[in-house]
Symmetry: C2
């Protein structure tokens, strides 16, 4: 069953990087490694780690950047969708907290959408769907994650790769010339424990949760193996939905999962490097904020332009894989 | 701007109640109160509190109940939306964990939608939107919350009212005769701290979180005052969207927030008591599971039937208020 073309138009994008730049050479010292070890192993020169900022404040900063770049009035936003991999608090929604920082019109509705690292494409598809079927005319999507708060510094695999950040887009239905040509999301819960932060209703301090339950744990090899085994058919179905060949894609906006993941994608796609938006070396893996931050990078570097086709694609905890063909 | 009529058809509903029945007289003893104190104060005879169950297992049980009641094959579900007020874990999504318990076709996509206690109507509106604009043909929505895990037993106001549970519906687009006639959601973040569980990215054990940060905290009077001040216009706009008078609503499915909240709603609506689905005395406030559990009750008691009009309405942490006019 082929999905119909779903009109949506991105009016503007923006991003925010909190706290301070943490260089890989600083981490060499912190982790007692020889000079150059962290950069060589992670492929990252630097990433940003928040100081005392709240996640919602970083999200609101990205939203304000998108509004300012587009010359868009705060009061014109009909709905805010927060698309983070980890919420700021257990309750209420991150969207409510972002609205509390953002200064939009009181009453502007907000809710969260969560599909871990692939939350942004899910939220964009949903926003497009709502713009075509409801009274909402202009929707803001904000993805924010402060992954540094959950880093297990005793784990050499995952402690190097995470960076904090937020990114936002403002969307409308548009005139029907731009929109979603293909969209696929698939969850393989056999991998639900491959990437996790276990703290929650089953592991609370009262129920004997251990400190590690509040930190990110990953079995990178298993994620990679499972994701690799299902990405080929996802990509092929996506292109089939859009009736396109890979050569007709102008730029790829991947989730910036890891050095190895980015290299593997580049090898698989066999596209000129400039067409794959790679911000990993200067941002790290920003969880749900990675894809919209890379999308923003594509806009400001001119790789995303009206009429061009983008492929958004990535893997996420769950394990969930997803992608979207987006005609601008 | 009036929203268009949005076709959606509820094929089936189901629910699950975990653990054991906790009577108010049992709580009288636990809280060292005189006989009858908890029931009088809370308006609740009993509620259910989970033992060691995982939230996702309770959710999967509700989903299986809905599938069994509708005679629906597990493999026919195209998408699972989890609509809980509190996630099972910080990462991954609750949807991935529910999929891990539910035994649906591998690859069935899932994501979370979160608007605290009003998550279910938001998810139903979204599902309807997706059914009208995407390749999804049959969507399962599951709301689950184990509020007992976050009860602050030192707080007499909130410790009495919560019950655990889950409820599910299976929806399709249908033939266009049934659907959403009105839908409104509004967030007032001035109330973002009126109901909260503060633990999260800004309050982790490593950052000095206190035990109370992992428990539900509520300023009930302020929630009630803010919600009361905005509900009247929400209700009037909802009915206006649907071009209906209140007398044309066949049954009301309210969030079962509190004894006082339910009484206030009944007084405001001036409807026969039987038309307001009130399961509070035997379930308590089940957070996001309340509305779909009450909806399921409406179906099994015959108050929800083809051709009838339901009003789903409630307040949530955020503070968010929302409602939907649903023609069956």
């Amino acid at each position: 069953m082929k999905p119909p073309f779903l009109p949506v138009s991105i009016l503007s994008s923006g991003k925010a990087l909190p706290g301070r730049k943490v260089t890989s050479s600083e981490l060499d010292t912190r982790l007692s490694k020889s000079a150059g070890w962290v950069q060589k192993r992670s492929g990252i020169a630097y990433r940003f780690h928040a100081n005392d900022e709240h996640q919602s404040a970083v999200a609101a900063q990205a939203l304000h950047d998108a509004l300012a770049r587009g010359g868009i009035e705060r009061d014109s936003i009909d709905l805010l969708i927060s698309a983070s991999g980890v919420q700021e608090q257990q309750l209420p929604s991150t969207a409510a907290l972002v609205l509390g920082c953002a200064g939009l019109r009181p009453g502007t509705p907000g809710f969260d959408v969560n599909a871990s690292c692939i939350s942004f494409p899910v939220a964009l598809h949903m926003a497009a769907s709502l713009l075509n079927t409801s009274a909402y005319r202009r929707i803001a999507i904000v993805a924010s994650d402060l992954a540094s708060r959950g880093i297990d510094w005793s784990n050499a695999e995952s402690s190097l790769i995470f960076g904090d950040g937020a990114a936002a887009v403002i969307v409308e239905r548009g005139d029907g010339s731009s929109g979603i040509e293909g969209y696929r999301l698939r969850t393989y819960p056999e991998g639900k424990a491959y990437c996790e932060i276990r703290a929650g209703t089953s592991r609370t301090p009262r129920r004997g949760a251990q400190p590690a339950d509040f930190l990110f744990q990953m079995d990178g090899k298993r994620v990679f193996r499972l994701a690799s085994s299902v990405m080929e058919s996802l990509l092929s179905d996506l292109l089939d939905d859009a009736r396109l060949r890979l050569s007709e894609i102008d730029a790829v906006i991947p989730h910036q999962a890891s050095h190895l993941g980015m290299r593997h994608l580049a090898e698989r796609l066999r596209m000129p490097a400039a067409q794959i938006v790679d911000i990993y070396a200067t941002h790290g893996n920003q969880v749900a904020a990675s894809i919209p931050t890379a999308l923003h990078e594509a806009f400001i570097t001119g790789r995303a332009q009206p009429g061009r086709r983008l492929l958004l694609i990535g893997t996420a905890a769950g394990v969930t894989v997803g992608g979207m063909v987006l005609k601008l």
